[in-house]
């Protein structure tokens, strides 16, 4: 019973992530990839992503603080971050990245900082990790 309840919760949470636009279809693809050979596939990928993204965000922050700002580099970093966010289906983060790049092109550093903060929030593990763990523990 408790199990069912947990399952239901996970399902709802997952659905809300989609509804709120945090996740997109790519995430579904990942789920489909999960099979007997890789039962924790999604979790593993998510872990990789979080590790990688926190590193990316760090690099971005450092680059932002540098003066004068090298927008080219920032653009590259952001491109990379966008790429890895697309891997997990992190829709909002990806959109943020796109915005960042636009700011970059326009040389708008303040916009950058604002967006960076927002991205951090979007990547917040609590959004997705908690989603993963209940599922794996249930199975």
């Amino acid at each position: 019973m408790e199990r069912n309840q947990l399952r239901r919760q996970v399902r709802l949470m997952r659905q809300s992530l989609f509804d709120q636009g945090f996740l997109d279809e790519q995430f579904v693809q990942l789920e489909e990839l999960q099979d007997d050979a890789n039962p924790n596939f999604v979790e593993e990928v998510a872990t990789l992503y979080y590790r990688d993204s926190s590193r990316s965000l760090q690099i971005l922050e450092q680059a932002l603080q540098r003066n004068p700002r090298d927008f080219n580099k920032l653009d590259n970093y952001m491109q990379q971050f966008k790429g890895s966010s697309s891997s997990i289906g992190a829709k909002k983060v990806k959109a943020d990245c796109q915005q960042f790049r636009e700011y970059c092109n326009a040389g708008n550093a303040e916009g950058w900082q604002g967006k960076l903060g927002q991205s951090r929030h979007h990547v917040d593990p609590s959004n997705q990790e908690s989603h993963q763990q209940p599922e794996s523990s249930l199975d």
Partner: protein
Amino acid sequence: MESSFSSPRNDTFPAGLRVLVVDDDPTWLKILEKMLKKCSYEVTTCGLARDALHLLRQKKDGYDIVISDVNMPDMDGFRLLEHVGLEMDLPVIMMSVDGETSRVMKGVQHGACDYLLKPIRMKELRNIWQHVFRKKIHEIRDIESHESFEGIQFIRSGSDQYDEGYFLSADDLTSSRKRKDVDNKYDDKDFADLSSTKKARVVWSVDLHQKFVKAVHQIGFDKVGPKKILDLMNVPWLTRENVASHLQKYRLYLSRLQKENELKSSCGGMKHSDYSSKDAHGSFGLQNSISIQQSDVAHGSFKVSGNSLVSQRVGTKSHESDIEGIVSEPVAEPKKGSNGNIPDSQKTRSPQMDFNNSYAETKKGLIGNVPDSQKIRTPQVRPSHSLASVESEVNFTEFESAIPTKYSRNEIQLNKKQKPLIPLNSGFNKPPLPGPHSHFQVDRVQSIPSSSSRPSIAEEDVTGPAKSKPSYSEYINIQGSHVSPTISTADSFPDQIKSCVVNHQVSEAVSTSTANMEYQGFNLNCITDLESAQRNLIVESASPFGFLDDGFQICWYQGDCYGMNLGLQNIEFPEYNDPALVSEVPAHLYDALRFDYPYEPSEYSVIGQGLFIS
């Protein structure tokens, strides 16, 4: 990462397809690996482009297809793409989260057979086998068309059967991801036949490529044609189509290098601008425009195969003196008379000098590049065939040796000169090829009465250019690899670039002697038009002469051939007033072109290493 064996694959194609995935993003690597495994492919993942190249080179036939990301920290995805296409001739698929048309176009230009957008879906990966299949089919056709093939008979019959079988199942294949159907349709025997043709697939090894470059040089860039190359190469199992496609790749490669060189040079502060101003023609950077150069160049043939040397010459038009024509030739097809670049009639001087056509006319700096900025554009680019003028030749030889072109470079042993020079051969040469060529080159140089050591250099260069092999690969090496001072006999490296390098080296050596002054004079004259790109190439050598292109320098000094390639453009050969030199040079070059010099296998390996951006 292990490579798979080919036999099981054949029976159940496309299952078992050996895929190499290259991406710096660990998340994507994991996802792609999983996806490809689900497609029943054999996957090998790689986080660095260098590792990937290493793997590919280790097992030439170990993979069927490569999937690579575009943005990678250690190497540009497009560059990797070029390498793979040239060295291994495998289909390469590019991926990126950026789907801008310009990027996609760039991918296609570099030879990608497909460009996927991230996030990548399973269904997109399921169909990648079509690229492998397509290539096989083309190879079979190539082979079949080659009458002389003895072993083709079996292939032909096999492929015919295969084709029929394929067509039958084509619908199934394309309709869905039901690979099972395909497997069922495929007759094992048929497929086996098809795969047996795989043996006939051309893998452009270092040796083969060197032969190719040599042939290109020998023929003369502007006259190059697949059939001629094929005949010269004298490789029985090679088809005209193989050569044609390889030639195209090479040209693209050279032009690309040239462009990059130009960029580099600008970054490096090369004096491109100086040149460019002069150069009215602007055609300079043509990657494919090498031919342009040729037209003008008297000797014309030099033209380095299209890519590279675009140096087309910059400005030569504007003043005759611009040698520019020189270098711009992308080393690409040195075949041409080495100096193809000199589009302007100026070339006069050295027929060979493709380099820098401009220089031909203008006595200006010999080595073409140094028009004002002293860039020696040195016709590196010009693979030296035709150093029309002694100068040009000089440059070539210099280049040649310098040019790490895989093959030839080593040959060019500008030993004497090279020593002081930066090891152009970037890597190839590791040890200066003491081969006969080198001597001969050196000797020639010495024989040249002209005071300027340059002429002598030219000789060396001349020989070098002859060697200039389309060492695009060398070029690559050059960049990173060590420019070995021992530019082995400048066997007319087709790679103009190399020559550039060589030139520098040589020129450097020469400069010491005396020619420096002379060259400088020449360069100044010639170089006026030197295009910045060219400059790059020659710059280095110009140090003594002063006309070395910055870009060029970069190549040499830093052992970075890369710069050289681009710089070829400005190879300006100072005009040598010494007719003897001129006449001598051409002969020189041609001799060199004749692959007199034996290539030392060790050199090749060196080159190989050098070429591959180690």
